[in-house]
């Protein structure tokens, strides 16, 4: 990697000033499964569809929502294998930060470092941009935070956001339903309802995944039975 034969970037500007590869990466994200996140007053919730290619796939072996540090979790829309690479790098960066400063990494710092990695892959030789957008949910001294990171490496803090297939409907739904003083449980209900909006087929605890972080600052992926409880409250 990075030998002389590959030391030219594959991501180059078009005459209109756009980086076409990044646009294509965003298209890849847009055709991925819907995922969303909502920041409540006392926590953050992230959720995603978990549509498996066949009923024969063991759904317990698939986990889309991952923990980066005990108080930061992440979900993606787009290409799963690309997200795995980013998760691995982010975990390592969080650990290196801790080794250097003996302080758990703040959410903004981790997001910034992940975004830097994603940007590097748009400018380096012989590589392509990542085909994922990430939603990073964390709770640190500055309170609950939700960030979205795009394949270009840009990141934004959101009160609520969605990505993937059903993004425009989901965002409209969230705009209507979001309130600043929402509690974490309400946010989970709203997340489920938003997923339900564009869901093909019957929503159940087996084909969605939800991750929450509350004021205890511990990121947790909900078990299928906990999701079942929330689903019943919503119905």
């Amino acid at each position: 990697m990075g030998d002389s034969q590959y030391s030219f970037s594959l991501t180059t500007f078009s005459p209109s000033g756009k980086l076409v590869q990044i646009e294509h990466a965003l298209t890849a994200v847009g055709s991925g499964q819907t995922s969303l996140g909502i920041k409540a007053a006392n926590g953050v919730v992230i959720a995603t569809e978990k549509k498996l290619p066949s009923i024969l796939v063991d759904e317990t072996s698939v986990q889309k929502i991952q923990t980066l540090t005990p108080n930061i979790g992440v979900v993606y829309s787009g290409m799963g294998p690309d997200s795995r690479v980013l998760v691995r790098k982010s975990r390592k960066q969080a650990e290196q930060y801790y080794r250097l400063y003996k302080e758990p990494i703040p959410v903004t710092q981790l997001v910034r470092e992940t975004a830097t990695v994603m940007q590097e892959f748009t400018q380096s030789g012989g590589v392509r941009p990542f085909g994922v957008s990430l939603l990073v949910a964390g709770f640190d001294d500055k309170g609950p935070q939700l960030y979205q990171v795009d394949p270009s490496g840009s990141y934004f803090s959101w009160k609520a956001s969605a990505m993937g297939k059903n993004v425009s409907n989901a965002k409209t739904f969230l705009e209507k339903r979001y309130t600043d003083d929402m509690e974490l449980d309400d946010a989970v209900h709203t997340a489920i309802l938003t997923l339900k909006e564009g869901f093909e087929g019957q929503i159940s605890s087996k084909n969605i995944e939800i991750g929450v972080i509350g004021s205890n600052k511990i990121f947790k992926v909900l078990t299928p039975s906990e999701i079942e409880d929330y689903l019943q409250e919503v119905e």
């Binding site: 990697m1 990075g2 030391s7 923990t67 980066l68 892959f121 400018q123 380096s124």
Partner: protein, 273 residues
């Protein structure tokens, strides 16, 4: 100029150039500076429900006690702890590094760390530095396969034992273990035996002293008993306080304020020249 995307690992391991220079200087007659050693008694034993680790708390720099209450039992994982003897910086750095690696490994696998994993990471690191990282460790923990206790030597060799001692006080501590250890000890018996072994090191070895630290690890639980025993309290503190002879003036009454409190008035007239 595009930069390399993946980071290339540095070629070859440690560079021994400076070691050669140091040897040459010693031959020329230069006295090498001494480093902070932990001259130590560290012990571990396996009991009925798990593992107990013990250590003294004296850190020495040659003949001087540099730290009277240092921590020699290092955290590796929620279920694994490691006592370190040798150069304090080396034991700290190597246990910190492996603890970090274990944490990442736990994230990737979603499972609790195993003692043999910590063991292998430590011994590979120490071996690759050919004994120049002067860390002698007693590693103990409880994982899914049961309780484990290992010793690791600075050159990278390891032993698996039911009871172990390391450091300058190891002979004193081992004498206690050899006479009193038996299998299937209860928690209290184990803690008493470990404390006795460490005390033996504290009182009979110059490089060990001060207090006893103990860590009890069982399945799903750990107890870090910092300063479990303080057999060396500072006994001769004068209770009367200090009294000065009458000629000494106690400065407190001699302090005169330099200036009265000044009030700042905003927007007043400028001072006239």
């Amino acid at each position: 100029m595009s930069k390399i995307a993946e980071s290339v690992p540095p070629k070859g391991g440690f560079s021994f150039d400076l070691c050669k220079r140091n040897e040459m200087l010693v031959q020329k007659g230069l006295k090498q500076p001494s480093f902070l050693k932990t001259g130590t008694t560290i012990v571990g034993l396996v009991f009925k429900d798990g593992v107990i680790l013990g250590a003294d708390t004296r850190a020495t720099e040659g003949p001087i006690v540099a730290d009277k209450n240092c921590e020699k039992i290092h955290y590796m994982a929620p279920n694994i702890y490691c006592c370190g003897a040798g150069t304090a910086a080396d034991t700290e750095a190597v246990t910190d590094m492996v603890s970090s690696q274990l944490k990442l490994h736990r994230f990737h696998t979603g499972r609790d760390s195993r003692v043999v994993t910590a063991l292998t990471l430590l011994k590979s690191h120490l071996f690759s530095y050919q004994g120049h990282v002067s860390a002698a460790l007693v590693l103990g923990g409880v994982d899914v396969t049961g309780p484990h206790l290992h010793t690791i030597y600075p050159h990278g060799s390891t032993d698996t034992l039911p009871f172990a001692t390391m450091g300058s006080g190891s002979l004193a501590a081992m004498a206690v273990f050899e006479s009193k250890y038996r299998e299937g000890l209860s928690r209290d018996e184990g803690v008493t035996l470990v404390a006795e072994a460490i005390c033996s090191g504290i009182f009979n070895d110059l490089g060990s002293g001060s207090n006893v630290d103990i860590c009890v690890i069982t399945k799903g639980e750990k107890e870090y008993l910092r300063n479990y025993m303080l057999p060396n309290p500072r006994t001769y503190v004068s209770e009367k306080g200090y009294s000065f002879s009458k000629k000494t003036e106690v400065l407190l009454t001699k302090i005169t304020p330099l200036r009265e409190l000044v009030e700042v008035i905003e927007g007043g007239d400028a001072m006239e020249e």
